[in-house]
């Protein structure tokens, strides 16, 4: 029986990958398998005080105090994180939770498991990044809407002008100063709060 060789998804080839696990026979196998995806692999051992963050994916042993060595706060990851689970001792599940990993990989490694962990970590991470970006933009827009509404109200009452004229004023200022409408609005709100 023959199997079709599946092409690698573009999201998981040509990556920068950090591997922080013992370079025994299994460790060598992991590095080789990752290199087969055209990854540039950097091996680090022992796990440093602070893991590097200039990588696309980090593979790291689940070790005591690991969450302290991750260079970002949970929820704001800079790279996809795959946690390597050793055969023994039993995994520290609370440590696993606080590391907020994107995927796990169990020792001993197999070729399929390595690829699966890479795809899971990378797609999970990039999707989270896109959602976070979208949420940031929504927050930004909400703040801008609020600022513009407050600035408009301030202009209407301090200058005794109508709504349209207030909007026009804010827009003109933004165009003249080449900044966004929300920046002008925030400045109007701030200066009004200082003066009153």
């Amino acid at each position: 029986m023959t199997w079709q060789v599946r092409p690698l998804p573009p999201e998981v080839s040509n990556l920068d990958i950090v591997v922080a696990t013992r370079r025994d026979e299994d460790g060598e196998f992991l590095i080789r398998e990752l290199q087969r995806t055209r990854a540039r692999v950097r091996h680090i051992w022992p796990i440093p005080e602070v893991l590097p963050e200039d990588a696309d994916v980090i593979y790291c042993d689940l070790a005591p105090g690991l969450s302290e060595r991750i260079p970002w706060v949970p929820g704001e990851p800079k790279a996809a994180l795959t946690i390597i689970i050793p055969l023994v001792p039993p995994p520290d599940l609370d440590q696993l939770r606080t590391c907020a990993a994107d995927a796990v990989l169990h020792r001993p490694f197999t070729s399929h498991a390595v690829l699966v962990s890479l795809v899971m970590a990378r797609t999970r991470f990039t999707y989270d990044q896109r959602l976070r970006w979208r949420i940031d933009k929504l927050d930004e827009n909400l703040r801008a809407i609020r600022a513009v509404e407050r600035a408009k109200a301030i202009l209407m009452s301090t200058r005794s002008i109508g709504e349209d004229e207030a909007y026009r004023f804010i827009r003109r200022q933004a165009m003249d100063r080449r900044v966004s409408i929300s920046v002008v609005a925030a400045a109007i709100v701030d200066s009004h709060e200082i003066l009153s």
């Binding site: 080839s13 979208r134 809407i145 909007y167 827009r171």
Partner: protein, 381 residues
């Protein structure tokens, strides 16, 4: 291996999702034509970096859920990342989770109600600040302050009317009636609406009815003997395609706000209209939806030539900020919101089924999908 690497003559494959059947085909089929025309032009000029552009098109037959299913098929089975498609907001919302989760890029060539900003969509139709605001002002200046709203019952009309109601009220007008009909509404469904209008005597009927139902609305209006000179139907969606389907005499005198009408001047438009008619027939008019469907493929091609990759993370940054000499005039993809800075125009239907441009912006108008700054200071020529 990803399509981006290596020296290959393999075609660039892209997905296309517009309905050829069902109640939205009247307009979506024109968007399909605009898309295919642009693809043919690009291939006739040698493709993109020597590679042919090949569309994989499915017909979701005017059913929103089918758009989601076909988007999945395109991305999962056909291994496609770029999709051109969708007219209704319901269909866009069905495709959205798929392209966001699998990191695709949807090119959406239709005006919509705004208040959306996905990193996986390029919006090339008008946002409310590019059509609703100017339309409201034009109607109040020329016809009066009493508005009657009639719409199809789905996302776009309700959201669009929410914005229009605010504009009307802020300018001292009033909405005297508001009614929604099912998307597949028939001729007879409009009888009570016509009775209502007769009783309330508004100055303007603002319609967000889409698809085949548009034709029934305007025909019922004509049958009732109403006069567009004193009480026009104003719309953001009624184009040359719907006017042709309802009859030129039925459409005459009614108002639409859009970035593009077939009658706008310019070399880019003359050559676009000539190509379109040569390809699809002398009687086939272009419209704002064809135009957006057409120019967005050209912008895509321009970006792909530079990026040489269909991977969304590589292609999208190149698309943002791209300028293009579209049939409507010079436009650009606004990098802060992935919407397009488009022209604002108000047109009135003449007896040849074309729109006479009553007003137009001096330049393209910056897209403001969240209506943060409002487009109230748009200057008109």
């Amino acid at each position: 291996m990803p399509e981006s690497r290596g020296r290959t003559s393999e075609p660039w494959r892209v997905g296309v999702l517009f309905s050829k059947t069902g109640f939205m085909a009247v307009i979506e089929e024109t968007q399909l034509r605009g898309t295919l025309l642009a693809i043919e032009e690009i291939n006739a000029a040698g493709g993109i970096n020597g590679r042919e552009l090949v569309p994989i098109a499915y017909d979701p037959s005017s059913e929103a859920a089918a758009f989601g299913r076909y988007a999945k098929r395109l991305m999962v089975e056909d291994r496609i990342t770029t999709i051109f498609g969708c007219y209704t907001s319901s269909s866009r919302k069905a495709v959205l989770p798929v392209v966001e989760r699998l990191n695709g890029l949807l090119w959406y060539p239709t005006l919509y109600e705004g208040f959306e900003f996905s990193p996986n969509v390029i919006y090339t139709g008008a946002a409310p600040n590019q059509n609703s605001i100017a339309l409201c002002r034009f109607l109040m200046d020329n016809y009066g302050t009493r508005f009657y709203f009639v719409g199809s019952d789905y996302v776009y009309p309700r959201e669009s009317n929410r914005i229009m109601r605010e504009l009307v009220r802020n300018n001292g007008g009033e909405v005297v009636g508001e009614v929604y009909l099912r998307l597949r509404a028939k001729h007879r469904d409009f009888a009570p609406v016509i009775r209502d209008i007769k009783a309330l005597q508004p100055n303007v009927i603002f319609s967000t009815v889409v698809g085949d139902a548009t034709i029934h609305l305007y025909q019922c209006y004509a049958d009732a003997g109403f006069d567009p000179k004193t009480m026009p139907i104003a719309s953001l969606t009624t184009t040359e395609a719907e006017i042709r389907a309802m009859g030129f005499d039925v459409g005459e005198g009614h108002i639409t706000a859009a970035p593009y009408f077939q009658g706008v001047g310019g070399d880019s438009n003359s050559s676009f209209v000539a190509h379109y008619k040569k390809r699809y027939g002398e009687d086939e008019p272009t419209n704002m939806c064809v135009e957006a469907a057409y120019f967005q493929v050209h912008i895509f091609a321009k970006a792909l030539e530079q990026a040489n990759s269909l991977e969304t993370d590589v292609l999208r940054p190149v698309v943002l900020g791209t300028e293009f000499d579209a049939p409507q005039g010079k436009i650009s993809i606004n990098p802060t919101c992935s919407h397009t800075d488009l022209w604002t125009r108000i047109g009135r239907v003449n007896r040849r089924g074309q729109f006479d441009v009553m007003q137009q912006s001096l330049t393209s108008v910056r897209a403001d999908p969240y209506l943060i700054g409002y487009g109230r200071t748009v200057a008109f020529s």
